[in-house]
Symmetry: C2
Subunit: 212 residues, 2 copies
């Protein structure tokens, strides 16, 4: 079993704040994410500046692309990203065209659980998906649980590399003990912490404890 | 029957090009769209600059938001947008939170045709949708046809204000004669034209001819 990677989602309103957090946590995390909000705010400048700061980390542009995959993939690649996200509502040709330019992750939002479509992604070489805890569940005060675990296992068993995100805290990780999660993605638990480095380290320690 | 509005989608790679086209067509169109590509490239600066150029037009930020609707809605509003888009894969709370901040259009991509969900949008005051011709159909060389017409009519009959986009050219408009389309959205047919103003005017003339 491979040890899960740790990703920080920089969903900040400006690039400077993202750079400040990235500087503090880059020695602890494997993947740095230019969050959707950050890209909406500052565009590809955010990706270019993060790339300048962390030349050796995997850099993700979380654009949640729905269309024009070939062109957007190229734009993200040229800005310095290694990976980009497509939304599950993108058509298959959009994802395939993006994947020709850059490694694609499919973000699983509402209506993603059409397993024939998910199989088509795999059949076309798109092997990464991002599983989000249901927002509705979170609004209703629920936390990570058995349902999420089963969904993640189902996707892994199909052959996907599955990243897990949405209110992930260190204490959530033990739910996934024995499960081959590809990456845990933490956002505010790191970016809003008084000490982002210590917060990132607490995720890393928990990963090291559970996945020996 | 109301006359459809005309919208130009500025899916350019930089703000200057978008401003140049907007300057040439702003007297002919009703809605100026900061395209998704443009926002990915230049962020909210693109929206702010377009707002500066066209203070009296409806300005749309085509962010295709999937999450954090309240915050993204506020960001788009503060940048000067009147409307923003959400992707159909956004959860209902995301759309509702966005709609509290700004007028939301739901973009209908893959998997949108769950009519129970669409009814929930209406029931929560989200009345605008954007109908795209199937990309797959376009890749296969098809053009606008009876299937699209029936889908648009179905949505209008439900009570939606329906915008129509995806390879729309002036000669496509007559397909919708007698149909209460809210807005026709033209992109490259205007932005890539030798004379964007003349191209926009040809859409306007055709709207005026068909919807008297």
């Amino acid at each position: 079993m491979t040890k899960p990677m740790l990703q920080v989602a920089l969903d900040t309103d400006d690039t400077a704040t993202a750079l400040n957090v990235a500087r503090q946590v880059s020695d602890v995390v494997d993947v740095i994410e230019a969050g959707t909000l950050l890209v909406y705010q500052d565009g590809m400048d955010a990706v270019r500046n993060l790339r300048a700061l962390v030349p050796d980390k995997i850099l993700l542009a979380d654009v949640k692309d729905a269309d024009a995959g070939g062109h957007i993939g190229k734009v993200c690649k040229e800005a310095g990203a290694d990976w980009m996200t497509c939304i599950n509502a993108a058509t298959l040709p959009t994802m395939i065209n993006a994947q020709k330019e850059i490694e694609v992750q499919v973000e699983l939002y509402e209506g993603w659980d059409n397993m024939e479509r998910a199989q088509q992604w795999l059949d076309n070489g798109i092997t990464q998906v991002v599983y989000h805890q249901s927002r509705d569940a979170k609004f209703a005060g629920q936390t990570w649980g058995e349902h999420d675990l089963q969904e993640v296992k189902k996707l892994i068993n199909m052959g996907f590399k599955v990243s897990v995100t949405g209110g992930v805290k260190p204490e959530v990780l033990k739910l996934f003990e024995g499960v081959d999660v590809y990456t845990f993605i933490a956002g505010r638990a790191i970016t809003n912490a008084d000490d982002p480095h210590a917060a990132a380290q607490s995720f890393r320690d928990e990963i090291n404890r559970i996945w020996k």
